[in-house]
């Protein structure tokens, strides 16, 4: 290989393009040949050629980058394969899976953390998205600017640079978010009680989840013993295991713009006549939303739920940027994907890492299938 990484890439890219074009012709010819053998008409043969010619890049990529890796990782997940080891891998049978599912505390913690993000973060994220969509769903001036403002966080998303800005803002002592909270609670003592109440509830819930993952509920007892938070308490965000996951949820809520656009599309599709006739009958706005718009919106809720779940199960960047190298916090916030990354690439345990990947894959598939099963109970497709 060439010494210069840039030239190396350009050369490889060129070779790849040639390979893909060759594959296009190859696959196209093959399809044409097969349909000729079957005695199809020349027009049929031509479209078989064209179809496989144009679809070839994806088909070849699917085989090289999805089918083959999945097959290999399935095999490796039953072995103790390591990249660095010279000697061949040993067959372990189900040992990796048994260790992973019964003994591995890190993995258990990662599942419970991910569960926390999904059970607490996702409803909050969807709620805020729906609220913003309802606000925007009317003819108002400057609607485009609001939309842009709400969508911008999705673009900035989980870029490291933006996450570091959040790290600065979330500092417990001097971070701007806590400064603002302090200023507000000093000015309005009543809101101070609200703030302390939220802190109390949040810490109890998180302590409960931390108890689930470690099996010991000491922390929960401590939080309850400490009682209602003192007047000068502020959220500890990125400095305490009790708050580390809440910071990630804050980021999820911040990036709710994509969901908001989907909800907005759904609200646009609700027929105006239904609202008008309900208004004549004297239904209030609140009633009209829950009785008319929301049932018709359920397909969109379902879509956001499926996509949002897959996304929250795959969360990685925020945890890497906010908590990497911060040992006590990593374990309180580690996600399944982060755990996979840690196991596979800091210890190069490919066999074990493969087992983790397969468990994650199965979890995501099962959850998605269950959702599709359950959708009949609550999703309303009357409009479609």
């Amino acid at each position: 290989m060439l010494k210069n990484p840039y030239l190396d890439l350009i050369l490889t890219a060129g070779l790849t393009v040639i390979f893909i074009i060759a594959a296009c012709f190859g696959l196209g010819m093959l399809a044409k040949w097969i349909s000729k053998k079957r005695g199809r008409s020349p027009v049929y043969q031509e479209s078989a050629f064209a179809g496989y010619f144009f679809a070839a890049p994806w088909i070849v990529g699917f085989i090289i980058f999805i089918i083959i890796p999945l097959t290999f990782s399935f095999y490796w997940s039953f072995t103790d394969y390591r990249v660095t080891a010279r000697d061949p891998a040993n067959w372990l049978g189900l040992e990796n899976y048994i260790t992973l599912l019964t003994k591995d505390e890190g993995f258990r913690a990662s599942i419970i953390n991910t569960l926390y993000l999904t059970v607490i973060g996702l409803p909050l994220q969807m709620g805020v998205a729906l609220f913003l969509a309802v606000l925007l769903n009317r003819k108002i001036r400057g609607e485009r600017i609001f939309r842009m403002g709400f969508y911008l966080p999705v673009i900035l998303g989980f870029n490291t640079a933006v996450l570091l800005c959040w790290r600065l803002m979330l500092n417990t002592g001097t971070g701007i978010i806590n400064q603002i909270i302090r200023a507000i609670t000093n000015a309005f003592p009543l809101l101070g009680y609200v703030n302390r109440g939220i802190i109390y509830i949040q810490e109890i819930i998180t302590a409960f989840f931390l108890g689930l993952s470690s099996g010991k509920f000491n922390l929960l007892n401590k939080v309850i013993e400490a009682g209602f938070p003192a007047a000068n308490r502020v959220p500890l965000w990125v400095q305490s295991p009790l708050w580390s996951k809440m910071s990630v949820i804050l980021l999820m809520i911040w990036g709710c713009g994509a969901m908001m656009l989907i909800f907005l599309a759904g609200l646009n599709n609700v027929p105006k006549e239904l609202h008008e006739s309900a208004e004549v009958d004297g239904a209030s706005q609140w009633q009209r939303f829950w009785k008319i718009s929301f049932p018709l919106l359920t397909p969109y809720v379902f879509y956001n739920l499926v996509v949002g779940l897959i996304n929250s199960l795959q969360i990685f960047e925020p945890i890497f940027v906010l908590y990497r190298d911060n040992q006590p916090l990593v374990s309180s916030t580690i996600s399944m994907v982060y755990y996979l990354w840690q196991k596979s690439f800091s210890h190069f345990e490919i066999g074990y890492g493969s087992a983790i990947s397969w468990v994650i894959l199965v979890i995501i598939l099962v959850i998605t299938l269950v959702q599709f099963r359950l959708q009949k109970r609550w999703v309303n497709y009357d409009l479609y």
Binding site: L9, F146, M169, I176
Partner: protein, 280 residues
């Protein structure tokens, strides 16, 4: 009475919307403001919205940082090559799924959609071993080349939806004039879907520009780091004092391309998310 109520309501709504917009864009404002502060100001216990004395020291120091400049160049290089290959191959494949009837089309399309459920992270371990065998670790290849094989089922789906809306008669008359599929793809279909192409290009650009996990795994040396990887090294938990103004100036420079691209393509994006979202 009812009139007053509706005026009050619209005032309240504008108040809520403006408040939410300010909250949403606040991190961006804070990033810029912090990059213009001194180190003492970023760590001060009082709120400093905008520094009284704007200093450009952070930018001067980041512009003298060879590693930062190099990673900036690497990011531009990586995104250019990855974007070009991925975009073209996606446009080719969506043509097959929308404009041609071929045996097995529905099955392959179903396979493609079902890959959306496979988390990319489930593939990284075996792919790493595969690229290791190819001696590609420590090069740009593993983060760019897979895209050339039409990576990204959601993007194919989005383009396919727009291509399918073009009337079939256009192809048929071109066929009679003796055009082949490649000519129809490039000369008739592509010019008609400029807006969806711009949308897909933006999504791909954002995805590549922000990507952290794969560059982190494969790029190994500081010389090859892309921006997200390098910027993440600027913040080090073991330092007692973080150089926040410098980190924030690097952050501002990292996000500028994102904001510029979003500004120019927002009218396509804000509409097409809706098209692609559900109407399958």
């Amino acid at each position: 009475m009812k009139q007053y109520w509706s005026i009050l309501k619209s005032i309240l709504m504008y108040f809520l919307l403006t408040g939410a917009t300010i909250l949403m864009s606040f991190p961006l404002f804070w990033m810029i403001s912090s990059s213009l502060k001194t180190l003492e100001e970023t760590n001060s216990p009082g709120i400093i919205w905008i520094p009284k004395q704007i200093t450009w020291d952070a930018y001067l120091s980041i512009f003298q940082n060879q590693n930062f400049l190099r990673s900036y160049f690497n990011s531009v290089f990586f995104v250019t090559f990855a974007l070009a290959g991925t975009l073209i191959s996606i446009a080719v494949v969506s043509y097959a799924f929308s404009r041609v009837d071929w045996p097995g089309k529905n099955f392959v399309f179903f396979l493609m959609l079902s890959t959306m459920m496979i988390p990319p992270q489930a593939l990284i371990v075996p792919q790493y071993v595969f690229f290791n065998k190819l001696n590609w670790i420590g090069t740009f290849n593993p983060i760019i080349i897979p895209g050339y094989f039409a990576g990204g089922a959601a993007m194919i789906f989005l383009l396919r939806q727009s291509m399918a809306q073009i009337p079939k008669e256009m192809d048929e008359s071109a066929f009679i004039d003796g055009a082949n599929h490649i000519q129809i793809w490039w000369e008739i279909v592509m010019p008609l879907i400029k807006a969806p192409i711009a949308t897909v290009a933006t999504f791909l650009f954002v995805g590549f520009w922000n990507s952290l996990l794969t560059p982190l795994m494969y790029l190994q040396t500081v010389d090859l780091y892309t921006l997200p990887v390098y910027v993440s090294t600027l913040y080090n938990i073991n330092n007692t004092v973080q150089q926040w103004p410098t980190i924030m100036s690097a952050a501002v420079l990292t996000t500028v391309p994102l904001i510029v691209v979003f500004f120019f393509t927002q009218r396509f994006i804000l509409e097409s998310v809706v098209i692609s979202g559900l109407k399958g």
